[in-house]
């Protein structure tokens, strides 16, 4: 049990930090521009595939830097030539544009790299067990992932709280038109923020790719969970997104590790009852319902606290 708790906590925090790399960009973009970027998880996937391809061509370490930059450029292009032109048609059109983009990016990725998982491996330098705990080897690569995401987290925090750019971004979060009135080029701020957000998502993809599965459906799998994270944390709240990322990371990881079901707690049902929804629910394990848990959480939050954990506004 102690082993399960320690390992799952480590994995959960790791997954949570990865989620935060994505949700931080998503929530900043949302609160600044009012656009819920459906394609955000697609940028994460692009990061993973760019990372894979560049690793094959020039090695992992250059790819770690170049792939997120490429994704950032793609993101800036999307903002400059897509969203900015669609803005006049309203938020629904912008949302639909990113929805169409997410769809198209998935198709393009599966067109180029195929639908089956690609062989994106952990670099040889990091391919060793970092430490052994309760007879389980914990891979060094996961520690590396954790370190990278914590470093990015701190860098993000310092940038937002201590620099002038961060000040403008923070101001634009709550009062975008006021920032414009003060003479800042809001368009350029938007483009940069969109680019940085996409690059962060790309970075998450590059480092998560070797550890998780790099496949053309990885965006579709992660995307809805990201929305859960930012709604749960409160739209537009970075600390909220941070707490929600960690919480959902931990919940998901622990749920997958647990094998209990109602049947294992209260004993099996009378077999004479035959198959029914009750037996389905009775026999399902916590691990099996793990994929549903975030959505259940989303529904509960929207019923009982529509502004999310730390959010201040409802929409």
């Amino acid at each position: 049990m102690a082993e399960l708790i320690v390992i799952s906590t480590l994995n959960g925090v790791l997954f949570g930090m990865l989620l935060f790399l994505l949700s931080s960009g998503l929530t900043v973009i949302f609160s600044m521009m009012g656009v819920l970027n459906f394609a955000h998880a697609s940028f994460y996937m692009l990061g993973a595939f760019f990372g894979y391809q560049l690793t094959r061509w020039i090695g992992f370490w250059p790819a770690l830097v170049i792939a997120p930059l490429l994704v950032g450029v793609v993101g800036m292009g999307v903002e400059r030539y897509g969203l900015r032109n669609t803005h006049k048609h309203g938020h629904v059109a912008e949302l639909l544009l990113t929805f169409g983009l997410a769809f198209a990016i998935e198709e393009i990725v599966s067109m180029i790299w195929g639908k089956s998982p690609v062989d994106y491996r952990v670099p040889a330098v990091l391919d060793f067990p970092a430490f052994t705990i309760f007879s389980t080897n914990y891979p060094a690569y996961k520690i590396f992932m954790l370190v990278v995401s914590v470093v990015i987290f701190i860098a993000l925090l310092v940038t937002l709280k201590r620099t002038r750019v961060g000040l403008i971004v923070q101001a634009a979060l709550t009062h975008p038109s006021m920032v414009g009135h003060l003479g800042h080029n809001v368009g350029r701020v938007f483009m940069l923020v969109f680019g940085v957000g996409s690059a962060l998502a790309g970075l998450a993809g590059v480092i998560a790719g070797p550890s998780l599965v790099t496949q053309s459906d990885m965006a579709a799998l992660l995307g809805p969970i990201l929305f859960v994270v930012i709604v749960f944390g409160g739209l537009g709240s970075l600390p909220g997104a941070f707490i929600a990322s960690l919480l959902i990371g931990l919940i998901q990881t622990f749920a997958v590790a647990l094998n209990g079901s109602l049947a294992s707690v209260f004993g099996p049902l009378d077999p004479s009852l035959g198959p029914s929804p009750l037996t389905d629910i009775w026999n399902v394990t916590i691990a099996q319902i793990a994929p549903i848990l975030p959505y259940l959480l989303l529904v509960l939050v929207l019923i009982f606290r529509p502004m999310g954990l730390l959010g201040t506004r409802e929409s």
């Binding site: 639909l96 198209a104 709604v231 929804p277 259940l296 529904v299 929207l302 529509p306």
Partner: protein, 430 residues
């Protein structure tokens, strides 16, 4: 999306023969539905008509949300799929217990299924409109789709639940075994649902839905609760989506968890939006086009879904009114008789635009077939995906087509402005 004609303007412009024209449209639609299978009688086209009919109901039901009430849903397939599942279960139960239920009322059962689920979750979902609604609809969609794989006894797991449409009580001597009988069943429900949904837009509820879409705050001031209005619209949309789901269950004699999934929700969004959400007939056009492309493109290219994405992005960026919006923009010009002045500039613009589109197609196909080495057959000209000449041709078409098209479309806009000014002077354009 908000450029729907206001009722007063539309009513004022109605010609004396308006009533006749109004019923004439539905009568023509009915005749067309009856005659179509007599003209195109092959099995393949019959199957296509069935799918298109179902897609029309589904897309129209979606437009109750998006077009009429302004609710962007990413989980509309939930009601569609649950309607399908309920229909299958009732069909199986009816066959087992020899209930006197004829097949033609089964879609109604599906509709009730879709409505019941909307009744259950709708109150919470429609509390807020806009982005929050979009996200919660996505969440509910994922929740139901994932749950359907757990509740195996109800949803049949991966393989789904099968049924036999001929096992129910026959009606008028029809067993609904042959596809042509299923076609007429679907055609009947298409007509009935379309008329019902059109009638819904004409009721006070339909009107207040439009008001909720445009300005919920003012709706509150005149004494309506936007939340209740959205809830009602959501239930009606669920009802008609359930009818479409029930028809699908009858058509394929199976219901599986794919009916509930995100792909299905995305397709209906594409259909409604590509067709145009501001006009009632928009989603019909969209459903026909999307289903036709879906059936036609799969045999031509392996990346047909990408074309959907590209078309969708193009519509969102350049013509957010959809096909219906483009068509209806020309109405005042036709009435004012100034359309003729725009057509020459259109004809000029068509050529580089087509070149640009061909370039995009060539690029996509080149990438898609690069490793396979298949020959691309574009307008009868064979292109080899690995040949640099193909890449050069694609690049020239894309870049050249884009640059020239941009100039010609500017000229279209100028010609359009002139024609619109004349139309405005003659009183045909507000």
């Amino acid at each position: 999306m908000t450029d729907a004609p206001t009722p007063s303007l539309a009513a004022a412009k109605q010609e004396p023969g308006g009533v006749l024209g109004f019923y004439g449209v539905w009568l023509l639609a009915a005749i067309a539905l009856v005659v179509l299978p007599l003209i195109f009688s092959s099995g393949g086209s019959l199957t296509s008509f069935c799918l298109i009919g179902i897609a029309i109901i589904f897309a129209l039901s979606y437009n109750i949300l998006l077009g009429q009430t302004g609710l962007l849903s990413f989980g509309h397939a939930v009601q569609y799929g649950l309607g399908g599942f309920l229909a299958v279960h009732v069909m199986n139960a009816g066959a087992n217990h020899n209930w006197p239920i004829p097949l033609p009322v089964i879609p109604l059962v599906g509709g009730i299924g879709g409505m019941a689920f909307a009744l259950l979750v709708g109150w919470v979902m429609t509390k807020r409109a806009g982005t929050v609604f979009a996200m919660i609809s996505l969440g509910i969609g994922e929740l139901v789709a994932s749950s359907s794989l757990i509740l195996r006894s109800v949803f049949g797991g991966e393989s789904g639940i099968t049924t036999d449409r001929t096992s129910l009580m026959p009606m008028f001597g029809w067993t609904f075994g042959p596809q042509i009988q299923v076609y007429y069943l679907i055609a009947f429900w298409v007509l009935v649902s379309a008329i019902a949904m059109y009638a819904l837009t004409r009721t006070p509820l339909g009107r207040i839905c439009n008001a909720v879409r445009d300005n919920p705050e003012r709706v509150e001031f005149i004494g309506y609760d936007p939340h209740v209005v959205r809830y009602l619209a959501y239930m009606f949309a669920g009802f008609f989506a359930g009818i479409a789901g029930g028809l699908t269950a009858i058509n394929f004699e199976i219901a599986n968890s794919a009916y509930l999934g995100a792909t299905q929700s995305g397709l209906v969004l594409f259909s409604a939006f590509i067709g145009g959400t501001a006009y009632f007939f928009g989603p019909i056009l969209g459903a026909i086009l999307v289903t036709y492309l879906q059936l036609g493109l799969t045999s031509v290219t392996s990346v047909w879904q990408l074309y959907f994405g590209v078309i969708f992005i193009g519509i969102v960026m350049f013509a957010p009114g959809g096909i219906a919006g483009i068509l209806m923009k020309h109405r005042p010009l036709i009435r004012a008789g100034t359309l003729g002045t725009v057509i020459p500039s259109y004809l000029v613009a068509v050529i580089p635009t087509l070149a640009f589109a061909l370039g995009i197609i060539l690029t996509i196909e080149t990438v898609a077939r690069f490793s396979g080495g298949d020959v691309i057959n574009l307008l009868g000209i064979p292109f080899v995906a690995t040949a640099p000449t193909t890449w050069a041709a694609a690049a020239v078409l894309v870049v050249g087509g884009f640059l020239v098209a941009r100039i010609t479309w500017r000229r279209v806009a100028e010609a359009w402005d002139r024609a619109a000014t004349v139309a405005r002077d003659r009183g045909y354009l507000a």
